[in-house]
């Protein structure tokens, strides 16, 4: 990941984390506020419900009280109280119930037998257990109807004295949809009533102001909990898959006189407002985060322009300098630290170039000095015998003719030999000075190697201390683009050096193989080896470890290898010999095939 990507990621991450933290905090706060409002609203509604419930209970009791005081009922009570026939009153309860707006009404004799029932007229003569609670507080009761259905009602019992016996009025109103409609409900609040007379959950038992609730299953667990515990219960319910439709539900159990839960009132406050606010906050957070990311991109682009690009330029320039292109310069686009860095870089490379030039100059001077020293040394060797020989000739003028002739002949031979030596030395120097450009062609290194080894093999066997030749040449072609003659000369020099390094015999190993996209040729000897200092200076012209020699051999080898875009290295462990390794660019396999 480059600097620009890192900066982009960092800024984007910072923005997102910040926005997420703020959004979460605000959302949490909003939820708490809404929950608090819901609780207050529910508590307020529950209070209103209890008051409405009590009012309805009072209304039932009042209706019965008024009914009991009415003349028709007093006549009935009087008649029944004096042993009158209850049959004529069979249908009275229905008319009275309608008159006093009660949903349920039974007229019950003193022995608890039903005289007349508004809700189930055929139950005359059966016992009504509720009369045992005469004149007590209104209570909830199940009422079975002729069609087999069961309803829950809010009942009251009123005793009417008729002579010696008492007649009872058991009246009540239904707790049903109409009861729910009479309750004051705020917008966003739904009220349901659950009634079931089975132990299990009855999905058809949940009714609202609009009738049966189609999907009652989401409320099941809360209702069951309230029925089981007999206490108010709260939960969040999700009637549909949408979060906006979720509601805060409070379940209030409605109990009979004996404490059994007869019904459960459900108060559901919509969470739509809170959810919408939360979603709004989330949307804003996403928007801000998105904007932040865009800002991060823009910022990173700006930073790239101002900071990372110059740094990248500096990094590339540094890479070029490392590759040897010391003349590399970077542009200075600002006057800040980056600009100062660029300036410093440019100064550094300038200094490097100057130093290299000085170094090259110094090396050139050193090389000239070395050349002059070497030349002086090489030339001095044959010049001294030349001088002595000429002096002998001058002195021999004074000697007898015979001795003079002898000395003349010896001197002439010496002069001729030394002059040949001088000519050789000059020829070598001339060869090195005018190394020809390679005439490249596709050739198989194995063939060049073979020619070199064939040339020197007899020499290796005929020595007093023989040298063993080992070859490890790859069976496949090792095609390179090279000058065969120059390559032959380079390999010959290496073989000669190896032979010269083993005066007491040893092993000369020649290896040629393909290593990736280079052909690697190595010539190894088992001589005394080289020191690290010798390894460093080995390829310097005129440097030699031999007693005699021009010191140009390895320089020529290096020059040939460099002209063929290859490399030459030496590996040596003192006392174990040395290995010269040449690597030349190999031709591609297809080219090898064509070749």
């Amino acid at each position: 990941m480059n600097l620009r990507q890192k900066m982009l990621a960092m800024v984007a991450l910072t923005v997102m984390v910040t926005v997420a933290a703020v959004g979460w905090t605000v959302s949490l706060r909003v939820r708490r506020v809404f929950e608090k409002i819901d609780r207050e609203r529910t508590a307020d509604f529950v209070g209103q419900f209890r008051r409405a419930y009590q009012r309805r209970a009072d209304a039932v009791a009042l209706s019965l009280d008024r009914m009991a005081g009415s003349e028709p009922l007093m006549r009935i009570a009087f008649d029944l109280g004096h042993g009158g026939d209850p049959a004529p009153y069979l249908n009275r309860a229905a008319a009275l119930a309608q008159e006093y707006q009660l949903d349920f009404l039974e007229i019950v004799s003193s022995d608890g037998s039903i005289v007349s029932s508004a809700q189930w007229p055929a139950r005359f003569g059966y016992k009504e257990a509720a009369v045992t609670g005469a004149n007590r507080m209104p209570f909830l009761k199940e009422e079975v109807l002729p069609d087999g259905s069961t309803q829950i009602g809010l009942f009251a019992v009123h005793a009417v004295r008729g002579g010696e016996k008492t007649v009872y009025l058991v009246g009540g109103t239904r707790l049903d949809r109409e009861f729910l409609m009479s309750l004051p409900a705020l917008a966003g609040t739904q009220i349901f009533l659950y009634r079931s007379f089975n132990a299990g959950f009855d999905a058809h038992g949940l009714v609202g102001v609009k009738g049966n609730v189609g999907n009652a299953a989401p409320y099941q667990s809360l209702i069951n909990q309230s029925r089981a515990s007999g206490q108010d219960s709260n939960a969040v319910v999700y009637p549909s898959g949408n979060l906006e439709d979720s509601v805060d539900v409070t379940a209030i159990p409605l109990k009979a006189a004996d404490g059994t839960v007869m019904a459960v009132l459900i108060v559901a406050n919509s969470r739509r407002g809170m959810v919408e606010v939360q979603q709004h906050i989330k949307a804003i957070a996403y928007g801000v985060a998105g904007g932040g990311i865009l800002f991060a991109i823009a910022a990173s682009l700006w930073i790239a322009a101002r900071v990372s690009r110059p740094i990248e330029q500096l990094a590339r320039a540094a890479g070029e300098v490392a590759d040897g292109r010391w003349e590399t310069r970077v542009s200075v686009g600002s006057h800040d630290e980056v600009g100062m860095l660029a300036n410093s870089f440019n100064r550094m490379t300038s200094q490097l170039v100057e130093q290299r030039e000085r170094l090259v100059q110094a090396e050139r001077v050193a090389a000239w000095r070395e050349l002059a020293r070497r030349l002086a040394h090489e030339l001095n060797n044959p010049l001294f015998p030349l001088q002595l020989t000429v002096e002998n000739l001058v002195r021999s003028r004074h000697l007898p003719q015979e001795q003079c002739d002898e000395i003349f002949a010896e001197s002439a031979a010496t002069l001729m030999a030394e002059i040949a030596n001088l000519k050789t030395i000059v020829a070598r120097f001339s060869d090195f000075s005018k190394m020809p450009k390679p005439q490249e062609s596709n050739l198989d290194v194995r063939e060049v190697m073979q020619r070199v080894l064939v040339l020197f093999s007899p020499t290796l066997d005929q020595r007093e201390q023989p040298i063993t030749l080992k070859t490890q040449i790859a069976p496949d072609p090792l095609m390179v683009s090279a000058d065969a003659e120059l390559l032959h000369r380079a390999l010959s020099n290496l073989v000669l050096n190896a032979i010269d390094a083993m005066p007491d015999g040893g092993t000369l190993t020649a290896v040629a193989a393909r290593k990736g996209d280079v052909v690697q040729i190595s010539i190894s000897d088992t001589g005394t080896g080289l020191t690290p200092e010798e390894c460093q200076r080995l390829f310097t012209p005129y440097y030699t470890t031999k007693q005699h020699g021009t010191g140009l051999g390895l320089a020529i080898v290096q020059s040939v290898v460099a002209d063929h875009h290859g490399t030459i290295t030496v590996e040596s462990i003192q006392g174990s010999g040395a290995t010269f390794v040449i690597e030349l660019p190999a031709l591609p396999i297809a080219s090898e095939a064509r070749a």
């Binding site: 209850p86 049959a87 004529p88 069979l90 007229p121 055929a122 005359f124 003569g125 002729p146 087999g148």
Partner: protein, 449 residues
């Protein structure tokens, strides 16, 4: 002496005047309009009240239930009651003026019973009708007195024409206006017109009676007591309507013992004492006591414990009870029966007949028209969809037939109920036939000119 004679003379004169005025008040007078209101359709087949005023039968019943000649003046049977011949009353005309002929009567009778006629052949012979049957028809004359065999002449698309004491004047907005038939073979009725308005609720009928807008209204048996308490003038018949529970012998109730359990569970006394307020009589027999005299042989008491024992094998699905022609009282009776059955451990539910084409139990109300026990049994069994026994000519056979049928527990008689009418003070000489039908032809209106 004159003074001593004067006082007796004055007193005598006063007495004579008062007597004359009393006589004048009680003597029937012609004229006036009689207004009748009913809950049902006055043209309801077979026994709508308008039909009974417009049409006659070959035979008829009097107020004691005695069979009398109607459009037929005499009849005789041959071939062990397999063949009957009825001679028609001469000179009778239909209201449209057409003469009453045997052929016209035969057509009407054939249309009345379609494929369920007790006879297999009917033909006109001279001025008589000959009925022929594969089975013996010992009760044919009594059966022909039933409302379903009233004779009508259907001519094209016009209203059917009868021979009764009244003819149809007009039908407007559900009110049937009948005019007296001056040529009625029994003599012109006293009232000039009869207006019959059907489909009036009981409450409206009683209200109209109380304010003088109606002269004759219905009083159901369960309201007789209240009508008397409300000081209405009421005329009730003998118990003529049988409230019976028809029990299916298929499905859940194929078991005899289960049906017997139902019979034992039903509490007739509660129905009689409370719902019908002691009007009518609880019964466990198909025929009323005053027709047979042996109704007491069929016990009416319930035995819940035995019912509980017999109900073993009852399924868990509730028995379905429907009501034939439901009204408030039969609905109450049905619900009470359901409670009785639950006490015996039998689960039952009342359901509308329209939603339940086949029911386990059907509460029926059968109107008994026959004045004869044997004819009555035939009538009831026919109504219950049961096979009519061959031999019911003597009381023993009749009792056996009834007992054998009741022991199958396919019918559980509950109550016999009277029919009753309330009438206004201006109505005179109102009487009911044996089956509770008002004899309008003999009614006069007080104050008619």
């Amino acid at each position: 002496m004159k003074l001593t004679m004067f006082r007796p003379f004055v007193i005598s004169s006063l007495v004579v005047c008062l007597a004359l005025s009393a006589v004048a008040r009680t003597r029937s007078r012609y004229g006036g309009a009689l207004r009748i209101e009913t809950q049902g359709d006055p043209w309801l087949v077979p026994d709508g009240i308008a039909r009974k005023l417009v049409f006659d039968g070959l035979t008829r019943l009097d107020d004691s239930g005695v069979l009398l000649p109607g459009l037929a003046i005499r009849w005789e049977s041959q071939n062990d009651n397999h063949r009957w011949q009825f001679w028609l009353r001469p000179g009778v005309r239909f209201h449209d003026g057409a003469a009453m002929t045997p052929a016209a009567v035969a057509v009407s009778l054939s249309q009345s019973c379609a494929r369920q006629c007790p006879w297999t052949g009917l033909s006109a012979v001279g001025n008589s009708l000959v009925f022929v049957g594969d089975s013996a028809m010992p009760q044919l004359p009594a059966e022909l007195a039933r409302s379903m065999y009233l004779v009508a002449r259907q001519h094209d698309a016009a209203e059917p024409s009868g021979t009764g004491p009244f003819r149809v004047a007009k039908v407007t907005n559900g009110v049937v206006s009948l005019a007296a038939n001056g040529d009625y073979w029994q003599g012109r009725p006293f009232v000039d017109t009869v207006q019959v308005e059907g489909k009036r609720s009981l409450r409206d009928q009683w209200l109209d009676l109380s304010v003088g807008r109606a002269d004759m209204v219905e009083v159901p048996a369960e309201l007789l007591h209240q009508a008397v308490q409300d000081r209405l003038m009421v005329l009730a018949s003998h118990p003529t309507d049988l409230l019976v529970l028809s029990v299916s012998s298929k499905g859940a109730l194929h078991d005899d013992q289960l049906r017997q359990a139902i019979a034992l569970a039903v509490d007739r006394s509660a129905l009689f004492n409370v719902i019908f307020q002691k009007e009518g009589e609880p019964t466990a027999s198909l025929l009323p006591a005053d027709l047979t005299g042996y109704a007491f042989l069929f016990p009416t008491e319930r035995d819940v414990a035995r019912a509980h024992n017999y109900r073993a094998g009852a399924g868990t699905s509730p028995l379905v009870l429907t009501i034939d022609h439901p009204d408030a009282s039969t609905q109450l009776v049905a619900e009470r029966i359901v409670l009785n059955l639950r006490e015996a451990g039998l689960n039952a539910q009342v359901r509308p007949a329209s939603s339940q084409p086949t029911a386990d139990l059907v509460l029926k109300r059968i109107h008994l028209e026959a004045g004869d026990a044997a004819a009555g049994l035939d009538e009831i069994l026919e109504d219950l969809g049961q096979k009519i026994p061959e031999e019911t000519g003597n009381p023993d056979a009749l009792y056996q037939a009834e007992r054998d049928f009741l022991r199958t527990y396919q019918a559980i008689p509950l109550l016999y109920l009277p029919r009753a009418l309330a009438f206004s003070e201006r109505v005179r000489d109102l009487r009911l036939t044996g089956d509770g039908t008002p004899m309008i032809a003999g009614v006069s209106i007080d104050g008619a000119k």
